[in-house]
């Protein structure tokens, strides 16, 4: 077996193993009649190491054997492989939050009355965890449901001095009269599309904020 073939087998094994391989383990890859000498194997490893010098990976010897690993200098880029993209909030969550902002204080049941569907516990939990919403009391009706309101953190996050800074309801209602061609985005759908974030830039919303 020529050196190139031995080198290729060793390289493939080191890349596929997912853990360091000792010289002995590498020798066992070969049948008895094709087994290289130990010295030959070391030379092959040295050559591979040299070959990787200019590349993205590195061949190093660790306690349990030889291992190919990503060169440290590239770790800032490679670590992005495991970064999770920030999730996007569902339309249901945003609607719930907006209702709390405009109609506070109100109960979950009241939110459900307006939205026409049940509000999941997860949504309320997320809003509470994010410190955008808090429980400000209980409505004095059977079951004594919690009354929700927005927080100071909510105002800070959205750059508002107070709730008065929110556009008035009437203006929001006119929204689609101003802009009849507006293609309302469905955040949940957008999330599935993944890549095309922010495809819809409702300019009117920005105008309203000015």
């Amino acid at each position: 077996m020529n050196t190139q073939k031995i080198s290729n087998i060793v390289e493939a094994a080191l890349l596929a193993a997912g853990k360091p391989l000792s010289l002995e383990r590498l020798l066992l890859l070969f049948a008895d009649d094709e087994q290289p000498h130990r010295q030959q194997l070391v030379e092959v490893l040295m050559q591979l190491q040299q070959h990787y010098q200019q590349r993205g990976v590195d061949l190093v010897e660790v306690s349990s054997g030889w291992r190919i690993q990503v060169r440290k200098e590239y770790s800032p880029w490679i670590s992005r492989l495991w970064d999770e993209k920030p999730a996007r909030y569902s339309r249901a969550l945003l609607e719930t939050l907006s209702l709390i902002a405009y109609r506070q204080p109100l109960t979950r049941g009241e939110i459900e009355d307006v939205r026409g569907v049940a509000v999941s516990t997860n949504i309320i939990k997320t809003l509470l965890e994010r410190d955008w919403v808090r429980v400000v009391g209980k409505r004095d009706v059977p079951g004594r449901p919690s009354l929700y309101a927005t927080t100071r953190e909510f105002l800070d996050y959205f750059g508002l001095r107070g709730l008065d800074d929110l556009p008035p309801l009437a203006k929001i209602r006119e929204f689609d009269v101003i802009n009849p061609e507006l293609d309302l985005p469905d955040p949940e759908m957008d999330q599935q599309a993944g890549a095309r974030q922010e495809t819809v830039q409702p300019q009117d919303a920005e105008q309203l904020l000015q």
Partner: protein, 272 residues
Amino acid sequence: MEQQTPRQQQELPFAMVHGEPLLEPPKDLYIPPDALEVFLEAFEGPLDLLLYLIRKQNLNILDIPIADITRQYVDYIALMENMRLELAAEYLVMAAMLAEIKSRMLLPRPRHEDEEEEGDPRAELVRRLQEYERFKQAAVDIDELPRMERDLHQVEVVAPHKQSEHPLPDVELKDLLFAFHEVMRRADLFSSHQIEREVLSVRERMSNVLASVGSTGFTDFTELFEMREGRMGVVVTFMAILELIKESLIELVQIDAFGVIHVKASSLAENE
């Protein structure tokens, strides 16, 4: 496998076929008894067994000698029953089907002028055999494709650190206003019973829906509705969709319970 007929078995009938004792197993089928079970397991069902009988004798699948094949098949079934092998019901169904074809082939073909001429009774069986054979071959082809773990191995080298971050989602105020706008408009939709819109033709809407569905693979169900059109428009779209489904022009697909419903044109059904 060795083809030998054990002498001692000549005394006792090997099997009962058509009420007649079968002293020797059919030669063209003979399998040593202890191998029979393995042999049966080698078949993927009656079509597979039938194909085997046909191919073994180099017969043309398009011109099966039905009487012969039926006899062999029934012999085989009898043999298996005799071995007390658990016989899947499908094998017996096939035997009945073969017998029916055979009987139809013996009868004179009715020729009514006002009716279409009756086809060859074997046609359906041949179609099924061919169809099965295609996929039997396709399975072999797929098995031969180089595949991971057996022929291909994914590499994976160690990376310095695999830390991952879970950033919180960002929201802009305009998203929030938009959501509020949406929910208020929907609330209006529920409370208003006035119908001011002109009547929209369901058929016209069907064409529009079909056109928008046809161009892409899957369309989100909700994309088909224009909230702007108000309650009446939504109802018309919904009726159009129902009509399209009734006419099998579109299909609805929902992967998870309560998940997003997708719509696609039926003509796209063949491909992914």
